[in-house]
Amino acid sequence: MIDTLTGLFNYWVAVILMMTGLYVVVAQNNLVKKLVGLGLFQASIFIFYISIGKVAGGAPPIIEPGVELYSNPLPHVLILTAIVVGVATTAVGLSLVVRISESYGSVEENDINQADRLAELETGDDQA
């Protein structure tokens, strides 16, 4: 039981952090806060992956004479790619938010949905 607890603790905390980030994305109204939540979600997934790659008693995967056991380098490579792609998508998301704010006047999801519904009603009246 204790073995399970210490062995799986990292993964459980990563899952809890993931769910916190997911809650921010789903339940918060402000678009910038949603993007921050997405960033929290991504970082928790990185924690999960790097926890998979750790070998107990290993060293960082830089080959040095005299060290026998190294941690797994493959998750490091994948997460390096993921971090940079994450910041690229955050940048694109933020530029979308800036354009939305200039076009609708607000970055709250409620206001944007309401403005869209009103615009639909107006164009529906015109077409009908």
């Binding site: 993964y11 070998v55 530029s95």
Partner: protein
């Protein structure tokens, strides 16, 4: 311990209404994640997360906040449904992880498939002690090419969305006389930051580092210049037209290295075709490829920051 701090920061970011504080907490979260990675022997990843997450991401979020508005409006909505969904997903994930290999297990499937070969043959085949750089640039070169193109595409997307307005002719903050102290400190630090970026770029073969980290640190030096001395001056130092060409040049270098191998009769991105001795070929190929990556990352991140910084705040 670090993990409980992370949880506290995440919950605080969830509850706050002041978006400035939320962005700062996100920066702290990234820094704690970088410390956690150091604890798990992931030195390259910790370096990148600290530079990218705690540095560039926070700066971009703050630049967007300046254009969008600092406070979140209070809203009344029922949090029950999202909470139920989130808890159900979390419970399902934790249940699914119940027979995952235990943390630190040396016989886990992740550790026994292809990693031992990278660790044992990597330095011999590529000539680099840093196995992460060797895997990133040589064994998994296609992924890195895709990533470089993704960064370039993101820069294009930001340019399409925000455009690049010309810098305002009104003198902005940087030329005021009482910013003297920040100006002097920045002028003293920026050469060392740029030098350090070059050091990280070329030292990535032997220690933590490589193209991505170097590009980000170089961009951070330019962002500091922009913050302290004003956007007008920074645009005169490096024009945006030059930046987009440098970004394209980086991707082109990467692609052409692969093309050269293809034209020499070897598979695409097989660096042993670049020199008579395969190990020298690998070394040369990795050097060129990391150069391309560093060039693209630096120019695109600076370009994205320019796009946010030049945008005028609509009243």
């Amino acid at each position: 311990m670090l993990l409980s701090l992370l949880l506290a920061v995440a919950i605080a970011a969830l509850r706050l209404r002041d978006l400035f504080a939320v962005v700062m907490l996100f920066g702290i979260y990234s820094l704690l994640t970088a410390l956690f990675f150091m604890d798990l022997d992931a030195v390259d990843v910790a370096f990148t997360e600290a530079a990218v997450g705690a540095g560039v991401s926070t700066i971009l979020l703050l630049a967007a906040l300046r254009l969008v508005g600092r406070y979140e409006k209070p809203h009344r909505h029922n949090p029950l449904l999202p909470l139920v969904v989130v808890c159900a997903t979390g419970a399902a994930l934790i249940y699914g992880l119940s027979d995952a290999p235990r943390f630190g297990d040396a016989n886990a499937p992740a550790q026994t498939h292809v990693a031992p070969r990278y660790l044992s043959e990597g330095p011999a085949e590529t000539g680099l002690p840093n196995v992460v750089t060797a895997v990133l640039a040589s064994y998994r070169g296609f992924d890195t090419l895709g990533e470089t193109v993704v960064v370039f595409t993101a820069g294009l997307a930001v340019l399409l969305l925000l455009g690049m307005s010309s810098p305002s002719p009104i003198p902005d903050f940087g030329s005021e006389d009482d910013q003297r102290m920040q100006r002097h400190a920045a002028k003293g630090l920026i050469p060392f930051i740029l030098l350090y970026a070059l050091y990280v770029q070329f030292h990535g073969d032997f220690g933590a580092g490589g193209g991505f980290q170097a590009g980000v640190i170089f961009a951070a030096g330019l962002v500091l210049y922009d913050l302290v001395l004003g956007h007008l001056h920074t645009r005169q130092v490096i024009q945006d037209g030059l930046l987009i060409r440098l970004g394209a040049l980086g991707v082109l270098i990467y692609g052409c290295v692969g093309l050269y191998s293809l034209l020499s009769g070897q598979p695409y991105l097989d660096y042993s075709a670049l020199a008579k001795d395969p190990v020298h070929g690998q070394h040369l190929g990795i050097l060129l490829v990391e150069l391309g990556v560093g060039l693209t990352v630096f120019s695109i991140i600076t370009l994205i920051y320019y796009a946010f910084s030049a945008r005028r705040v609509k009243a």
